[in-house]
């Protein structure tokens, strides 16, 4: 059984196609692993035993009938972050507010996964409404890092990352607003890929900050991430920011050779509180890319140090607006006692939102209020312009950019929430990318002296997914650490 859950998603998909393993056997093995490991790691809010077995039967029939031929992930169990709507299956956003919410529709990405024959095995844990960097703000309790149970898995998609790392899912879907895919991927030693804004439909993704949110994938290999992203990408009339592009054949980028690729390294990365061990790993990675024939150029990038302030203002502002829909009327929690409609709104929201969510709603409301709008919100939007410009200038000189994913490895549980500003710092290399809507991925680049995985971030131009996938694939082939370095 253990052997099955050690495989990559594509390897399992291939065995299923060759009839070497039945879909229900794979699903049973996955459920068994979840049963054994959940008490230790708590990756899931909901595990779908019955539904997954039913789906397995259906997919097996399709495969036996010769369907799903060109769907490499048919029959493969996948974890879904619990902010992505699944028809008939509880979708909580890790909040008391949505504890009993059962969507009446599937998100577009879920429709596409189902059409491709993937088996949804569970809804993974996260920070409440994606607000956090540790998965500790979840109403359902923290997820533990499979590399060290005393440490956080990162966040906000900590459940998805930990599930992949612990062999509790073959791959996962997650969302990334300011590093929520890449940062936990780095902490958990897996690969996390956030595509260009507009690549994947956000229809059915419960909104945090709409101009920054983007769905992406997490997996044990670059190929798994590329294949699963291919499955969920593409234009969707239900998302007005979805892009009419059709170059989503990401697997085409899984080719050997990096000769002539120009990789830029922003000089600022060395001073952003980067741990010496992480810095060393990044230096080694740069050397490896150089040996593979890539040209490395270090240069200054203007305005990047202002990405954090700009991001936090914009994210909170959009969140305060998005979360105003939770009023206890149409769905979600409603307070037991109230005097009138106004009181119903206030009590419902005050009782059901957690501390960090309230804080961000408050901050967002503040920066959008008339006295602060010009000097904070509008200023942040202008800084966003400058950051975008800075990236455009950088991409005149290079094909992709290379940075660390995080300044340090995973912190201990219970040490981050007391100081929000310190927690924001863990996303310091990530947030600028969301402001500019660029694609980026995190790939493991070694273990530190505590035995914890470190992450390398590769950033592409708009719709430059293939460049970063190709670079990551070659890095992986050269023998970088992949997720199976731990006992799973």
């Amino acid at each position: 059984m253990k052997e099955i859950t050690k495989m990559t998603a594509l390897a399992l998909g291939q065995m299923i196609k060759k009839k070497e393993i039945k879909v229900f056997e794979a699903v049973l093995a996955q459920l068994e692993a979840i049963k054994q490991r959940e008490p230790s790691y708590h990756c899931y809010i909901t595990v779908l035993e019955e539904e997954a077995l039913q789906m397995a039967k259906k997919v097996q029939e399709q495969i036996d009938a010769g369907l799903l031929e060109d769907s490499p992930l048919a029959g493969v169990p996948v974890a879904i972050k619990d902010n992505i709507c699944t028809k008939g299956i509880k979708t909580t956003c890790a909040s008391k507010m949505l504890a009993d919410y059962v969507p009446s529709y599937d998100a577009t990405v879920i429709e596409r996964l189902k059409a491709g024959g993937a088996i949804i095995i569970g809804k993974s844990n996260m920070d409440e409404f994606s607000m956090g960097s540790t998965t500790e703000t979840s109403y359902y309790g923290a997820t533990k890092n499979p590399w060290d149970k005393e440490r956080v898995p990162g966040g906000s998609s900590g459940g998805s990352a930990a599930a992949v790392a612990a062999g509790e899912a073959f791959f996962a879907l997650a969302s990334d607003t300011g590093g929520s895919i890449r940062q936990p991927a780095a902490y958990c030693g897996v690969i996390g890929l956030k595509p260009t804004y507009g690549t994947v439909s956000r229809y059915g993704l419960i909104a945090y900050a709409s101009s920054l949110d983007q769905i992406g994938t997490m997996g044990k290999s670059v190929s798994d991430c590329a294949s699963s992203l291919e499955l969920i990408s593409g234009y969707d009339p239900k998302d007005s920011t979805s892009i009419k592009e059709s170059h989503f054949q990401y697997r085409d980028a899984l080719v050997e050779g990096l000769k002539g690729m120009k990789i830029g390294v922003p000089k600022g990365i060395w001073k952003a509180g980067l741990d010496p061990e992480n810095a060393h790993a990044i230096q080694e990675a740069i050397g490896l890319f150089r040996n593979m024939g890539a040209h490395i150029e270090e240069f200054e990038m203007e305005s990047m140090e202002y990405a954090g302030p700009s991001y936090n203002i914009i994210a909170c502002a959009e969140a305060s607006s998005n979360l105003s829909r939770y009023d206890g009327v149409k769905y979600g929690f409603r307070s037991m006692e109230y005097e009138d409609l106004e009181d119903l709104y206030i009590k419902t929201r005050s009782e059901a939102f957690g501390e960090e969510v309230k804080r961000r709603i408050m901050l967002g409301t503040l920066v959008l209020s008339s006295d602060y709008y010009e000097s904070y919100y509008k200023k942040a939007l202008k800084v966003r312009s400058l950051i975008n410009r800075s990236f455009q200038k950088a991409f005149e000189k290079c094909d992709i950019l290379l940075t660390p994913t995080t300044p340090t490895t995973a912190p201990k549980l219970g040490t981050s929430l007391s100081d929000p500003l310190k927690m924001y710092h863990t996303d310091t290399y990530n947030v600028a990318i969301n402001l500019a809507g660029l694609p980026a991925l995190s790939i493991p680049c070694g273990l530190d002296s505590k035995g914890l995985p470190m992450g390398l971030q590769l950033i592409g131009k708009h719709f430059g997914e293939k460049d970063i996938i190709r670079a990551a694939y070659n890095f992986e082939q050269s023998g970088s650490l992949v997720s199976n370095g731990n006992e799973f």
Partner: protein
């Protein structure tokens, strides 16, 4: 601008949140820290810079106005905390 208890009170009202004294104290401190942190942006000259709300050039999306049924009333009402007949139920709003 100095953050006062009064401002916290006003923002909570706008946010439709009722805070405990402890929550208020914590937020007051947190707002101070946050505003100090984001104020670093003022070092940057943005006089002639256009604010950017979206990264990609977005155009208004038009579509044919066709009747279709995305979902049914029953499954939508299933999630209502309180319903009456075929409607969402709320406390009386007009005297």
């Amino acid at each position: 601008m100095e953050i006062t208890e009064e401002i916290i009170h006003k923002v909570a009202e706008l946010s439709k949140l009722r805070l405990t004294d402890k929550e208020k104290d914590k937020l007051l401190e947190s707002f101070h820290g946050f505003l100090n942190y984001v104020q670093t942006m003022n070092d940057l000259d943005t006089k002639d810079v256009e604010p950017m709300t979206h990264v990609l050039p977005l155009k208004n999306v038009f579509r044919e106005d066709r009747v279709c049924q995305e979902t049914d009333r029953e499954s939508v009402l299933k999630n209502a905390p309180e319903k009456k007949d075929r409607y969402f139920a709320v406390p009386k709003t007009v005297e």
